[in-house]
């Protein structure tokens, strides 16, 4: 690890944290319905959407209705993505003439984009038409992100409101998130990306003449190079801002047409954590105690920095698998990395994309050193609550905060409370559901996949690393991340189906308990804090929260990680 690597991390954090109060305050105004400047421009459009779709924006919803609205909207979204893929052969904007996507792949992609996972079983430039990328995928990039933020806001209202039974209106939260937060940021960001070289055109490809003619494996001459093009920048912008992560091209953010320069890379990696970090302050403002938000932000930042330092150190190390060859690995482990990002830009990105539920990659995690590849997987396994996905990260972290006050309450024998709301058996049952469903999906899924032939057939790398590929796939799908150990040949019916189910269950079986918890909390009498109340705005609580996240989120996976990355790491000493 070099001084420059640490400096890059420091400047990154400084830039991220500087944006938090600005964007956090703005988002609070959006969700509290306060006047905002963009409202003058986009207000008529907002009201038009409500009128055309028959939504009464003043009508508040109780939790069940909010949950049904969320679910129906996402079911409809998934069905549309599925249908567009199946019909893309006859739909417009298909200059490459791609045929319909196979049913299992279409199911996987629909689950993937509706659940904000953006796992890619397909290769973008070889499978999907421009129309599919735009109307199906770009749309879901927006609305799946907005769904997560709406659910978060409902939970915040459950904590913030002193009485009542309702949590807000899902349609209003969804539309306002899209119109006032995601869309304006995306337009600016997309144009910036084009300025860096990210392509934005409806042409399918360009053909160039090679200065150095080549021969392919069969001896035939290759005189030209075909470059896949498309409307990429508009999708990349929202894929990062909405912690989606699904790339326009197969190589995702490693592809120079998706991520062209060091400056562009910096802004993209900033965009991934921008909204999740700022939402902490939005939360603090909405519960009328900004310290509560900063405490969560502090806990997230501490874990992030510690883990990123390890990641930098692992990827700046030479790959022991190449030891003894006539090679200079002083720049680190370069297989599967781009020169313009190097070990530093790749390692920082790998942690950012996995603490968030982003899942875009600017380097191939499958080729990381064993421990360097374990960290991204482990970050996903923590439940993506370190910043996390837009909305989903913070509602996950709030569940952990509730578990933390519950555990602290057990220690001193008092009824736990969080922000003046009593935490009782119903909340704890919902919290337990949230933290148990996902590990069950991951561990059971991986266990099944390693014993059935369609599961093991997909493995690309021998030995312990092959198990890591399977574990990573289920980890990524169930937690709605979307990154992969990409060697796994996951575009097969078994994998498309299994991972598609994991993505849907991991997303929506979490959303329902979270909303149920919000519905239960909102009706509880606010009790003023007394001498026996655990203050949740102190450094002590930060430490308690980190402890709970690491304990609950990580210990579950230690045995599995020992069989994969840890075993691979230790094997280096044995075989050579």
């Amino acid at each position: 690890m070099t001084g420059n690597a640490i400096l890059q991390l420091v400047v990154y954090l400084a830039a991220l944290l500087a944006c938090v109060p600005l964007l956090g305050g703005y988002m609070a105004r959006v969700y509290e319905g306060q006047p905002i400047r963009l409202g003058r421009v986009l207000g008529p459009l907002e009201r038009l959407i409500y009128r055309l779709s028959g939504v009464n924006p003043d009508q508040e919803m109780a939790w069940k209705r909010y949950a049904w609205a969320t679910l129906w909207f996402n079911v409809a979204g998934a069905l549309v993505v599925f249908a567009i893929q199946r019909l893309q052969g006859v739909l417009p904007l298909n200059p490459q003439g791609f045929a319909a996507v196979a049913p299992d792949l279409a199911f996987n992609t629909a689950s993937s984009f509706a659940s904000n996972t953006n796992w890619q079983s397909y290769g973008g430039e070889t499978t999907l038409s421009h129309f599919t990328q735009m109307a199906a995928l770009t749309t879901q990039n927006f609305v799946s992100a907005a769904t997560g933020m709406a659910v978060l806001v409902a939970l915040i209202r459950g904590l913030a409101r002193k009485s009542g039974t309702t949590l807000g209106n899902f349609w209003v939260d969804l539309v306002r998130t899209t119109l006032y937060i995601l869309l304006p940021l995306s337009v600016v960001f997309a144009l910036f990306l084009v300025g860096q070289g990210v392509v934005q055109t409806f042409d399918a490809s360009a053909t160039v003449d090679l200065l150095n003619p080549l021969k392919d494996d069969k001896g035939a001459s290759i005189l030209t190079q075909i470059l896949a093009l498309g409307p990429a920048a508009s999708q990349i912008a929202i894929k990062q801002l909405g912690t989606n992560g699904g790339g326009f091209f197969n190589a995702n953010s490693a592809h120079p047409f998706e991520n062209a320069t060091a400056l562009g890379n910096f802004v993209e990696v900033l965009a991934i954590l921008l909204i999740p970090a700022a939402l902490c302050d939005t939360f603090g403002r909405m519960v009328k105690d900004r310290r509560q938000g900063f405490v969560l932000l502090a806990a997230m930042t501490i874990v992030f920095v510690a883990v990123t330092l390890f990641a930098l150190s692992f990827e700046h190390s030479p790959n022991p698998g190449l030891a003894g060859l006539h090679i200079d690995q002083s720049v680190g482990n370069m297989e599967g990395k781009e020169v313009r990002f190097g070990a530093t830009g790749s390692a920082i990105w790998s942690i950012v994309t996995t603490v968030a539920s982003n899942g875009s990659v600017n380097s191939m995690h499958d080729s990381f050193t064993p421990l360097g590849g374990m960290l991204p997987m482990w970050m996903i396994q923590l439940g993506e609550v370190i910043y996390g996905g837009v909305g989903s990260g913070l509602y996950g972290m709030l569940v952990f905060a509730i578990i933390a006050v519950f555990i602290a309450g057990l220690m001193v024998g008092r009824t736990p409370e969080y922000l003046g709301k009593k935490i009782e058996p119903f909340e704890m049952k919902m919290a337990a559901l949230v933290i148990l469903i996902v590990p069950a999906l991951v561990l059971v899924g991986a266990a099944v996949a390693v014993v059935v032939e369609p599961g093991t057939k997909a493995i690309a790398n021998p030995g312990a690393h092959g198990f890591s590929e399977i574990l990573y796939a289920f980890t990524s799908a169930a937690n709605n991340n979307g990154s992969a150990f990409g060697g796994l040949s996951a575009n097969a019916p078994f994998w498309n189906t299994a991972l598609g189910i994991c993505m849907l269950v991991g997303r929506f079986w979490l959303i329902v308990p979270v909303l149920a918890m919000a519905g239960s909390l909102v009706g509880k009498q606010h009790i003023p804090s007394g001498p026996g109340t655990l203050p949740t705005h102190t450094p002590l609580f930060v430490m308690l929260l980190i402890g709970v996240v690491l304990l609950v989120g990580a210990l579950t996976y230690v045995p599995a990680l020992a069989l994969g990355p840890v075993a691979e790491h230790l094997s280096f000493g044995v075989t050579r």
Binding site: A69, T207, L210, N212, I226, A251, A262, P318, K337, G345
Partner: protein, 189 residues
Amino acid sequence: MLTEIRPALLVLLLLTLLTGIAYPLAVTGIAQVAMPAKANGSLVITNGKTVGSSLIGQCWDDPKWFWGRPSATTPACNGAASSGSNLGPSNPALREAVQKRIEALQQADPTAKDLVPADLVTTSASGLDPDISPEAAYFQVHRVALSRGLGDDAVRKLVEQHVTPRWLGLFGEPHVQVLQLNLALEQGH
């Protein structure tokens, strides 16, 4: 329970029109007017011929050119199907592939005794990395100079001129864009 189905369908339709159709169209429109060269792939045109994109790596095997990163796409440097090798660090296939590439470089220049810079013998993430490290360029100077009948110093100087430093001295890594360097080589020759 069922009351929200109608708004679900209608809001989805309207947001699809807005974010899935209007938004990409608007961005494309602005980009094509304001930054057409970049929006269309940063193509490099010399003497009326499009010889590549300054952002997309090409494969080179003639000793008179600087070579770029190895590519794991099929065939190599396939600009229409990006991909990395995804070989795990402990995979013997990775070691074999790297060893073969080291041998190819040594064969092209038997006088090169230095350790080979890692980026020159490992595949990039996209298979289309346009850059190599300055060390990887310097490593090839003697071979290129020899096959073009130039002095090492002249070629080394050309490499120096083509090193892009870190952005603001801070972000990314110093790199040399291979196509630009080779074009400069050709034009200066």
